[in-house]
């Protein structure tokens, strides 16, 4: 056992396990666009609430739909949606954080206040606002959660830019006459990746959880499309009768998030080792 621990760390099994877990999920998610064992919306009175078996790996739900197929589809939806959320919020975070952190001053004050305000704003209300302007649907959930998560990235990017803006190499770049835009995005930006990567990981996890939460509150992915969060919330009513219905999407979320966390931990360790 002792040896196993040392071996695990030395071989950086975090990376491998993380890769395997995420990889499996991603493969299933992509596969779901082309093929699922059963139709994701096919209902059957006779097949209702079947416990997991070889026929239905994860069992069936209250409509007799195959949960495994729906989980596959859910992974696809959830992973895409959360990736987009991270993409939006991280890009916005970099843009805003870089500018405010580097230049400071009044603009920084104003943007930080707005960031604080958005941060304190209930995400559900924000989602309602976005949806009432743009209508419901996946893309708008992405947008509203993208806005919700932006402040956290702004904060991180900003503090990193503040840390680096007076560093020697930036100072020298300024002396060389490098343009501000170039300093921001070519000189400084690559240096915050390691910190940023960590927050992207956390952000990705939060996005999955938040997307699930949105669906849970009924304003996310629309039925009959499956998303892991929506499935989990639907399943809650059948906890006693069909616990597998809740466990399947719940554990799948844990699986993906954990896989991704391990993956990023593995990457971090690898980077450290290189150094």
């Amino acid at each position: 056992m002792k040896k196993f621990g040392a071996w695990f760390q030395k071989q950086n099994m975090y990376l491998l396990v993380g890769l395997l877990m995420t990889g499996l999920a991603v493969v299933l998610g992509i596969l779901s666009f082309f093929w699922t064992p059963y139709g994701t919306t096919t209902m059957s009175v006779a097949e209702r609430f079947h416990a997991p078996s070889l026929r239905h790996l994860f069992g069936t739900d209250n409509f007799g739909r195959d949960i495994f197929s729906r989980v596959m589809q859910g992974i696809g939806t959830t992973v895409i949606v959360s990736s987009l959320i991270v993409l939006i919020s991280a890009s916005a975070g970099i843009l805003i954080g870089a500018v405010t952190g580097y230049f400071g001053g009044i603009l920084d004050e104003v943007i930080m206040r707005i960031t604080d305000a958005v941060n304190a704003f209930p995400s559900i209300l924000l989602a309602l606002v976005v949806i009432s302007i743009l209508g419901s649907g996946k893309q708008n959930v992405v947008l509203s959660l993208g806005i919700v998560f932006t402040p956290s990235y702004v904060r991180i990017v900003r503090s990193e830019f503040i840390r680096l803006r007076d560093s020697d190499f930036v100072c020298r770049a300024r002396l060389m006459g490098v343009s501000k835009l170039r300093i921001l995005f070519i000189h400084i930006l690559p240096n915050i990746w390691s910190v940023f990567w960590v927050s992207v990981t956390i952000g990705f996890n939060n996005a999955i959880l938040a997307e699930s939460g949105m669906s849970y509150l009924g304003i996310g992915v629309q039925p009959p499309d499956a998303s892991l969060g929506k499935m989990l919330s639907d399943a809650q009513g059948y906890l006693g009768r069909a616990p597998w219905y809740a466990l399947a999407p719940g554990l799948t979320i844990v699986w993906i998030v954990l896989g991704f966390s391990l993956l990023s931990e593995g990457v971090r360790r690898k980077e450290e080792k290189k150094k």
Binding site: V45, F49, F63, G218, I219, P223, P224, S233, G237, Y238
Partner: protein
């Protein structure tokens, strides 16, 4: 559907003759209901004639879904509030479990020949919870306040035809109305409250009901205690009832499993199955009309053939089976089977199963040979509607009807479907109703404020007007039936079912009564000694 066999017809007959059906003997009632209550599905009906003696005392926690919207019985509009306040307030008359009117604060009443004057005799010694006797003053005040005679604001809209409320003597009140309407008698269930209490600063709700108000905390619930001076002798049994707000069906299930609530309605079919070992499960029709409402003004439903196609394509049996475990009652028109004299079974027009061929044919005729697509707005807080939408969306695909679901929160639904806009294509929800047929039918007249499906048919309007104006019950029923037939032929909307209401009740409780309206009467509930 034999449960509510004493129908409005019989009831109105009584009303016309004057006098009260209730308040006689309890055996009468119980035998009547015992014979009429039917066991349904996997639910069991609460034993109405217990072998054991009722036990006094005890506390009960009732789980309710919605928080109270007002503690003022005249201002309260939410059904969820009315079901609670039923235990605190009473009107001159009161609905009993059969749907018939019994006398409460009044001991007797009579209606004039022309139907314009109502005379109520007050019952002796009915006491408010503050210990004071109910006087004619109080009755006058309450009715004037509710009808808007007091300050111009109509609080109970069905009473707006009232002209005056006059005190004849200490025990007699006379009410004059502007137009004769047989259904008006139902509005005298409006709560009687102490004179002036509606305006007095900081007053707690005081009524004459079996329970008196103790406390209310937003989001937690309302607590009532036994009214020892209640005029119906021997009632209530319980010392205290706590109407506890439960945050949703899932939370309710957890609380039921944790035995922290004794009674909960609105269970889903599978929840009921899950609780069957620990609770008495009782199912009855909820007396609501669930439908796939089609906006008659918006494409593709501005075409009657498309509407009919949807009616043919819809597999209502399947929805019933999936969502309500087969306990629902399939309906086709805007009338409850409970209102037997006005109800006409039109399920054969489109059939209860799916008729794919017919639907396809109609679609082709309407110019949609490749099928139609539309989106259905569903309020996300109603699980049953969401599930129904899922089932129908999947099942109607076969007929080339592609329905995409859009979940919205309740206020958005109100805004999009019910208020100004009405730009939606279709929606699944339900209309709850009271014991009057007009309540359901009035809204489908052309241009009516509540006509949110924009149904327009002059034939229907005509039939409805005749029905409303008629002072003869037979004739009234005939016109109502005619209107229903017109509505169904026009496929104004695709009705689905009267979903069942399923209740979980603590095994030690007896005496629970179902009402055809949305109330929880706790006065007859008691702990048995089992």
């Amino acid at each position: 559907m034999k449960k509510f066999s004493i129908t409005l017809m019989a009831l109105l007959l009584v009303a016309a003759l004057g006098g009260c059906a209730g308040g006689k003997s309890s055996e009468d009632k119980s035998s009547a209901s015992a014979s009429t209550v039917e066991t349904q599905g996997n639910g069991t009906t609460q034993d109405q004639t217990p072998a054991v003696d009722p036990k006094y005392g005890g506390k009960v926690v009732v789980g309710v879904q919605q928080d109270i919207d007002s503690l003022d019985p005249h201002k309260a509009t939410a059904a969820g509030t009315k079901e609670i306040l039923f235990n605190i307030f009473e009107g001159l008359l009161k609905v009993n479990e059969n749907g018939s009117l019994i006398c409460a604060v009044a001991s007797d009443y009579s209606v004039s020949e022309d139907g314009l004057t109502y005379t109520f005799t007050l019952r002796d010694n009915v006491k408010f919870h503050n210990g004071k006797n109910v006087t004619a003053e109080d009755v006058k005040y309450s009715l004037e306040r509710a009808s808007g005679l007091l300050d111009g604001t109509v609080l109970v809209s069905s009473l707006q035809t009232l002209k005056s409320v006059d005190i004849v003597d200490e025990h007699t009140v006379q009410v004059t109305t502007g137009s004769a309407n047989l259904e008006l008698i139902y509005s005298f269930t409006t709560a009687i409250i102490p004179a002036g209490s509606g305006e007095a600063e900081g007053s707690n709700p005081i009524g004459t009901g079996p329970f008196s108000f103790v406390s209310y905390k937003p989001q937690e619930g309302l607590v009532v205690k036994k009214n020892p001076d209640y005029w119906q002798e021997g009632l209530p049994y319980l010392d205290e009832v706590n109407f506890k707000v439960v945050s949703g069906a899932d939370a309710a299930l957890l609380e039921l499993k944790g035995h922290s609530i004794d009674l909960y309605s609105y269970l889903t079919d599978s929840q009921a199955a899950e609780l069957a070992n620990d609770y008495q499960i009782i199912a009855a029709p909820s007396d609501a009309l669930q439908a796939l409402f089609l906006n008659n003004k918006v494409a593709p439903f501005d075409n009657v053939k498309v509407r009919q196609a949807v009616c043919y394509a819809m597999d209502r049996d399947l929805a019933n089976e999936f969502v309500t475990g087969g306990d629902g009652t399939i309906i086709s028109a805007a009338m409850l089977p409970t209102l037997k004299d006005y109800y006409v079974d039109l399920n054969d027009v489109y059939g209860t199963g799916a008729n794919v061929e017919k639907a396809k044919q109609l679609l082709a005729e309407a110019g949609y040979p490749n099928g139609v697509e539309f989106s259905v707005i569903v309020p996300s807080n109603y699980e049953a509607h969401v599930q129904t939408a899922e089932v129908l969306a999947d099942q109607m695909k076969a007929a080339g009807i592609n329905m995409s679901i859009e979940l919205v929160d309740w206020n958005t639904w109100l805004e999009d479907v019910y208020r100004q806009g009405r730009a939606y294509q279709a929606s699944i929800c339900a209309i709850t109703c009271d014991m009057t047929p007009s309540y359901l039918m009035v809204r489908f007249q052309t241009g009516h404020k509540k006509n949110f499906i924009n149904f327009a048919s002059s034939a229907y309007d005509e039939a409805y007007k005749k029905a409303e104006a008629s002072m003869d019950l037979q004739e009234k029923a005939k016109y109502y039936k005619e209107a229903q037939k017109i509505f169904v032929d026009e496929a104004g909307t695709a009705f689905i079912q009267d979903p069942p209401i399923t209740i979980a009740l603590n095994k030690n409780l007896s005496g629970y009564k179902f009402y055809p309206i949305y109330v929880q009467d706790m006065s007859t509930v008691y702990y048995n000694n089992k």
